[in-house]
Symmetry: C4
Subunit: 187 residues, 4 copies
C-alpha cells in the first residue's frame, strides 16, 4: 500500500519528543488506563473488565516495532491476566500496592535506565513511578494531581484509546510507526 500519512499524531513539544525517543519499555496501570476506571463485580464477586480494541491494536503496534510493554497494577485480577496474555505483554506486576519497588525490580532485571521507561497512570499510586521514569504520562481523565505530575496528558481517556495515543507518539518519535503499520498489513 501507499505511504502512510501520519498527520493525526498529536503535536508534542520537542522536549516530549526527545524523551519519547529514548523509550524502550512502555509500562502502564490497568484500571483507569487500559479501562475507563470501572470496577465491575457480579453478585458472586466475579470481576469483569472493559478493555478497548484500539488500545489492543496499539499494544500490537508497539510489539511489532520492538517495544516492550508491561503492567504494574495494585490489583490482582484474572481478567488482567487473560487480556495481558492475549496482547502479549512482556512484564506483569499485579497486586503491587507500591509500584516503585516493582519498577526498580524491572529496571535492574532489564538493565535499562529510567529514561528508557514510559509509565501511563491515572491516579495517586501511579505518580511516584510517573516521576521516576523518562516519560510520565497521565490519561486525559486522570485525577488532577496525576495530571499535574505528568510530562504529557493524553487527549483520549483511559479505556478509550489513551494507550494507543501514547504508542503512536513514541513510535512516531522513533520513526518506527509507518513500518509498524505496514507490518500489520503485510504479515
Amino acid at each position: 500500500m501507499e505511504k502512510v500519512d501520519i498527520d493525526w499524531i498529536p503535536e508534542v513539544s520537542a522536549e516530549i519528543r526527545n524523551k519519547a525517543k529514548k523509550i524502550k519499555v512502555i509500562l502502564m496501570d490497568v484500571d483507569g488506563v487500559l479501562t475507563r476506571g470501572d470496577i465491575v463485580y457480579d453478585s458472586n464477586g466475579l470481576e469483569i473488565k472493559h478493555f478497548n480494541a484500539h488500545d489492543g491494536q496499539g499494544i500490537k503496534l508497539a510489539r511489532v516495532a520492538g517495544m516492550k510493554v508491561g503492567i504494574i497494577s495494585s490489583r490482582e485480577s484474572g481478567t488482567i491476566r487473560v487480556r495481558a496474555k492475549e496482547l502479549g505483554f512482556h512484564y506483569l506486576y499485579l497486586g503491587k500496592d507500591k509500584k516503585l519497588p516493582a519498577f526498580e525490580n524491572l529496571k535492574s532485571e532489564t538493565g535499562l535506565h529510567s529514561e528508557n521507561f514510559c509509565f501511563i497512570g491515572d491516579d495517586l499510586p501511579d505518580i511516584p513511578v510517573m516521576k521516576e521514569v523518562g516519560l510520565g504520562i497521565a490519561v486525559g481523565n486522570a485525577t488532577e494531581l496525576t495530571q499535574q505530575n505528568a510530562d504529557y496528558i493524553t487527549r483520549k481517556g483511559g479505556g478509550e484509546g489513551a494507550v494507543r495515543e501514547v504508542v503512536e507518539i513514541i513510535l512516531d518519535a522513533q520513526n518506527l510507526l509507518e513500518d509498524a503499520i505496514q507490518n500489520i498489513w503485510k504479515t
Copy 2:
C-alpha cells in the same frame, strides 16, 4: 400507514450515492463497529459483547430489502456467533487475522465484483478491505488513519448506530428504504 418521510438520511455526495447504488453485500468488522470497541472479560476469561438495538434493526432492514450481510473479524468469539445467528448474517468469517483473503474468498464464492461490496471498519486491519471494496466506510470514532482511507465516515459511532446509518444510506440510494420500513410494520 402513510408515506415515510425520509429526511433524516445523511446527505451524501453524488459519488457516494453512485457507489451505494451498486452494493449487494454489506460487510463489517465487529469490535468498534457493531460494538463501541470494548473488549470485556470476566475473571474466568468469559467474553462479553455490547451490541446495539438500532444496528440490529438496521441489519433486519437490510435483509428485508434483499441485501446480504456479513462479518469479517480477526477475533473468534462465541458472543459474535450468538448475535450473528440472531440477526441472520449470511456470511461469517471469524478469527481472520488478515481480512483481505477472506474478502477475496467471499468474492469468488458469490461471483460478485468488488463494487458490489461495502465494508465498515474502525481500525488498521480493516483498511485493506475498505480500499478494495466499492464503498469503504469508517465509523465516526474510527482511528484517524482508518477515517483517512474511507469513502464515507458515519455520523454515529461504532456500537451506537453506525451500521444502521450505513444501511439507511444504501437502501435509500437504491430506493429500497421506504418499502423495507413498511415491510417491518406489515409482516
Copy 3:
C-alpha cells in the same frame, strides 16, 4: 416535609398536557427505552441488560400514584422478567414481533380507550403503537423516524431517565406528583 417545588418538570404544550391528563396506563418498549439500547451477550449466550435506577424510582412513583405500567417488547428475555417483577409492572408482553396486536389485546382486556394509554418507544416497531395511543413518546435518542412520529420527545435518553421524565410529566399533569413524592418519603 415542606411543599415540593416542582419546577424541574419540562414545560410541555397545552396539547401534550391535555393528552397526559387522560393517561391511566404507561406502556413502553425495553431495549433503548428502559436501557440505552445495548444488547449484551456473554460467550455462552447469556443475556445482560442495563436498566436505570432513576427510571426504577419513576415506575415506583407511577404505581404509588395509581398508574398502571406495562411492557411490550419484541424480545423474550429473562432479564426483563427479573427487572419487571422487581418494579411491579402490571402488564408484560414479551416476544411480540408485532406490538399492535398486543396493545389491542390489552385495550380489550382493560376496557380502556386508546386515549388512556401512553407508549414510549425508540425504533420502527414501536411507531404503530405510538400512533395508536393517546400519548406517543419517543426517547431523546430514538431513531429519527420514531421521533417524527411522536407527540413528545424526552430530553433524557433511553436508559438514562427518559421513563422517569415521562412519569413526572404525566403525574404533574394530573396533579398527582407531589403526593406521590410525599408518599415515597412517608410510607
Copy 4:
C-alpha cells in the same frame, strides 16, 4: 515527595467549608452515587455493578485520614458487600427502604451528632437523610429535586468520581488531605 499543590479542589463557599470541617462520617447511597445508576442483571437474575476506581481511592484517602465511611442503600446486594469489604467501609445498611431510621440508628450507635455526618445521594429516598445531616450532597447527575435539597452538588457524576470529590473537599477543609496523600505514597 515535594509539597502537594491542592489547587484542583473545587472552591466551596465558607458555609460549606464550615459544615465540612465538622464531618466525621461520610455516608452514601450506592446506585447512582457509587455507580452511574445502572441496574444490571443477567438472564439468571445475577446482579452486576459498576463501581469507579477514583472513588475507591477516595474512600481509601478518607480512611487514611481517620474518617469513617458508610453505606445506606435500599437495595440488598452481594456486589455491594464485595465492594464494601474491599474498600473497608465501616457501616453497611442494606435493604433499607427508609433511610432515616438507619441514620438515626447509626447516630445513636456512634454517639455523634447530625452535624458530624455527610450524606451523598442522587434520588428521592436520599433526600430525608440529606436534609438531616450536617452536609447533604447531591451528585452532579442527581434528579432535580435531589439537587434542590442539597447543600452542595458535585461537579462529577455518580460512578464517575463524585464520591472522590466529596472526600477531597472534606479532607481539605480539615487540612487532612495533603497528609493523607503523602501517606498513600509512603506506607
